[in-house]
Structure formats: C-alpha cells, structure tokens
C-alpha cells in the first residue's frame, strides 16, 4: 500500500514537471474559467440581493415613518385594502420593525456601520404591495395619492428600479455564463491534451506496465491525480482572483455616496466562502474526471 502511494506521487510529480508548459496553460485556463464561474455566482447573488426587496411580484413599497402609532399604521393598511380591485390584499405584507431590520441586515451586508446606526426611532417600517394583474397603471395613480396619507414617509415603485436592474442582470448573466462555459471547455480540453501528451511521453512505460500485469486503475491514478492537481491549482488561483475582485468591488460600492440602494450589490463573506469552496471542489473534480477519461481513452497501447 505504502509503496503504491509512493509510486503514485512520484510519477505524478515527474509528469507535472515534464509537461510544464502544457500544465501551466491548463492551470491558467482553469483559473480564469473558474474565476468567471465563481464571479457569475457572486454577481448573480448581488443582483438577487438588490432585487430581493421586490421578490414575489411586489411593485410598490409604502415606507411608514418610525414615529407612526399603531393606529396610524392600521389606517394606512385600511387605505391600501380599500382598493381591492388594484391591490392584491391577500398578498399585502407589513414588515414591522423586526422584519424591516432583518431585511436591512441582508441589504447592508457590506456596510455594518450604517446597519449599527439603525434603531426603532429611525428605521421606517414598510408595506409591500402586490398589484392585481394588469393593474400596474392604476397602481401608479394610487401611489401618488398615498404620498399624502399621514405618516407615509415615501412611496417607491418597482418599475423605476426593477426593470432596468433586471435587464442589466440578464445581460450580465448571459455574458458571464457564456464566457465561463467557453473557458471551462477550453480548460478541460487543455487538461485532456496534457494527459494525452503525458501518456504519449510514457507510452513505453505504460506498455511495460500492462505487460507485467499492472491494473488499468494503477496506471490511471497518477494521471488522474495530475489532473486533480492542475484543477486544484487553477481553482486556488481563481479563489485568489475572487477574493481580490470582491474586495475591490465592495470598497467601490461602499464609497458610492447617497442612499441609492446599490449597497445591496455586495455579497456577504459567508456566501463568498461558499462559492470559493464550490469552485475548489468543482476544479478538482473536473480535472480528475477529464484526466481519468483521457487516460482510459489512451490506455489501449
């Protein structure tokens, strides 16, 4: 067992060294493609955060001043429910202070300083309004009217923000997914070629191994390990890129002045860690499987 392990590691190391140029090419391509894959998830998550306020078809948010008494809040609710042809009352949701704070925590992941300043005296509560089908235009008129209701701080309509953000998200998603798929294919082809070249360089050795009775798995495993290491190094580099660009992005967004809501584009550290872990596992798995398949394909010497 020990001598087998020693053999496997020795052969893998020698092969990586022998194929250094192809190995570097395969590693760099996997690094860039895995970075794009991870980046796609992060960007997606950022947009989802940004849009999460509007999830579930919410088209209008009525912010209620924190100084409103329960009676005043009830009045606003009654006013909303008085237009049952426009407002889908079954989906009308009120976020009290606790729920509003929870939402703010998610949206302000990148800005804990601001989040800490929030309290019952300054955080508006909110009504999330889902309109009935095809009542959007009427809802706009309704929104104008609500601005006048006592203790309504402001009324925000989805169509101002959501439509443009959604379009942007779809565009970014198409580009990043497309690019990462293309580059992933490139990386796999390079790993495949590296293994094929490695096997060609060692064809005499493989022939001897087969003739003296080495099993195919015994021959294949050093090559799979080689692919796994290539995938792992590529994935580690891509994690470095992800960390670096995410920090750059977070700093950039935090510096944006004003209450524009873009702070929600920043993802939490735990999500970033999760994405990096997935990228690592995927990189290793894809490298090992591609090499294993390539090795089996060329094992018939």
């Amino acid at each position: 067992m020990w001598s087998r392990l020693a053999y496997t590691f020795r052969e893998t190391g020698a092969s990586l060294k022998r194929n250094i140029t192809l190995t570097v090419a395969a590693v760099l391509t996997s690094a860039v493609s895995l970075f794009l894959v991870g980046g796609t998830f992060l960007v997606q998550r950022g947009f989802d955060n940004l849009l999460s306020k509007w999830a579930g078809g919410v088209q209008m948010i009525v912010y209620v001043s924190p100084t409103a008494t329960p009676d005043q809040v009830a009045n606003i609710k009654t006013a909303l429910e008085s237009s049952p042809t426009v407002v889908d009352t079954s989906k009308l949701e009120y976020l009290d202070f606790t729920k509003s704070l929870a939402e703010a925590k998610r949206l302000l992941a990148a800005d804990p300083t601001t989040f800490k300043l929030l309290n019952e005296a300054n955080l508006p509560t909110e009504f999330k309004v889902v309109p009935k089908a095809r009542q959007l235009n009427v809802l706009v008129e309704l929104a104008n009217g609500f601005s006048e209701v006592p203790k309504v701080q402001k009324v925000v309509l989805a169509r101002d923000q959501v439509e443009q953000i959604s379009k942007l998200r779809d565009f970014v998603q198409t580009v990043t997914v497309g690019l990462s798929v293309l580059l992933l294919i490139g990386a796999l082809i390079l790993i495949w070629t590296t293994i094929r070249t490695a096997m060609f360089a060692r064809r005499r050795e493989i022939e001897v191994m087969k003739l003296v009775g080495a099993t195919n798995w015994f021959i294949r495993i050093p090559f799979m390990l080689e692919g796994l290491i290539q995938g792992l190094i590529g994935a580690l580099m891509s994690c470095g890129f992800l960390l670096f660009f995410n920090r750059l992005w977070t700093n950039g967004v935090v510096k944006l002045k004003g209450d524009n809501g873009f702070i929600a584009l920043v993802v939490s550290d735990s999500f970033l860690n999760f994405v990096m872990l997935m990228v690592l596992l995927f990189g290793m798995l894809a490298g090992a499987v591609a090499s294993g398949v390539a090795a089996s394909r060329f094992l018939d010497v």
């Binding site: 005499r204 001897v208 191994m209 003739l211 003296v212 009775g213 099993t215």
Partner: protein, 225 residues
C-alpha cells in the same frame, strides 16, 4: 499449460495472420516458433497473453479460456507470463535495478519483497554489480539480460520471447539461450519465436514451424530446416 484450439486471426477483415492453429504446450516445455517474417509467430505469442484475441477458436492458459476472461482479470493473467522482446523495451531513465523493481512495484509487491527478489534475479542473469547502470551503459546482451530479469523476477509460469537474440551477435545470443535454458529447467514454460537457424539447431527443442499463418510442422527435438 497452453492450448490453442483452431485459432484464426484476421487483421482488418482481410489479412489472415493465423489460420486454424491448434497445439498444446505442456508445463515446463521449451518450444520454438519458427518461420519467415509475417508467418504469424508474433501474433501467436500475442494471443497467449491476450494482447490479441482470435476471430475464431480459443486460447487456454493454465486451464482457463483467456478469451472469455473479463478485462479486469487480464492483469492477473499477465502476472503469470513474462515477456521478452527483440528491442528489450527497457525504461531508459531507470537503472538496471529500477527496471527490474518496476515490474514488481506496479503490481503492488511490498518493498521488502522487492529488496529481496531483485538482487537474486540479477544474480541469476549474471548482472550482479551492474544494478546501478543505465541501459545506455550496457551492451546489447546485458540489456537483454535485464529484460529477462524483469520478465522472470515475479517467477512466472510462462515466458514468451519474441526474437530475443535478433539484435545480438552469435556468441552473445548463445549466452542468452543458455540463460533461457536455465530458466526453463526451473520449471518455467518457454515459448520463443525466432528465425535464428543456428540457435534452433543448437538447442534441439520442440519446433513449431509457421508459414503464412498456418502451422506446417510440429516436431519434437527439431531443427530449423
């Protein structure tokens, strides 16, 4: 030990390399396969360790029909068969000791077994003291001895030799034959393809003569003709 029953091998559905070959090789026997190039000698050898499979007929080794053996069992079959080639097939970046140890290493033999068996077999083939040389530092005859050591180190039941003296001068070739004879006397079955007339006539072993894929003669204590 080896039995071929009506074995026919056709390459690319047109070239018939073997036609209806049938013979038995008993345990401990020494058999020469003779005949001109392209007569099917190497194909016969390649049938015996399942590097090739016949279109028709069956090949039995140590009581098993090896053509019906699942692929996963083939490595275990080959651990009982040593192979020697005209071009030695040594690994040039490995020393004599490493070349021989390699054969044990890749079938997972433990280190202490390797440490014990490799020097013993190098002694048997007359290469004691040369274990740290690389193949390019050895003569042709010595390289063939390394290849024989590698084939025999696992004490196989059968040794298949394809023109082992083909690249060697007559005196060196004779030395290799004496070594193979010695190995044969330990009970190992040896099947050797050759067109070296002198050696066949010198050894006076069983001779199976091939011509265009057909066995034309099978003679005990035969000569080349």
């Amino acid at each position: 030990m080896i039995r071929l029953e009506n074995v026919t091998k056709i390459y690319n559905s047109e070239v018939t390399a073997l036609r209806d070959a049938t013979f038995d090789v008993a345990k401990g026997e020494f058999v020469f396969l003779v005949g001109p190039s392209g007569s099917g000698k190497s194909t016969l050898l390649r049938m015996m360790n399942r590097q090739e499979s016949p279109e028709k007929g069956a090949v039995w080794v140590a009581g098993r029909n090896i053509n019906e053996m699942p692929d996963s069992k083939v490595p275990h079959l080959r651990r009982n068969i040593g192979n020697i080639f005209q071009d030695y097939k040594l690994l040039l970046n490995k020393t004599v000791h490493e070349n021989v140890a390699f054969a044990l290493e890749v079938i997972g033999r433990p280190k202490h077994v390797i440490r014990q068996q490799v020097p013993a077999v190098l002694d048997l083939v007359g290469l004691t003291g040369k274990q740290d040389r690389f193949p390019h530092q050895l003569s042709g005859g010595e390289q063939q001895r390394v290849s024989i050591a590698r084939a025999f180190v696992n004490r196989p039941l059968i040794l298949l030799a394809d023109e082992p003296t083909g690249n060697l001068d007559p005196a060196t070739g004779e030395g290799i034959m004496r070594l193979l004879d010695r190995i044969n006397k330990t009970g190992t079955t040896v099947v050797m393809a050759t067109h070296d007339q002198r050696i066949v006539n010198m050894m006076r072993k069983r001779v199976i003569q091939m011509d265009r894929g057909i066995i034309v003669r099978d003679q005990a204590r035969g000569v080349y003709e």
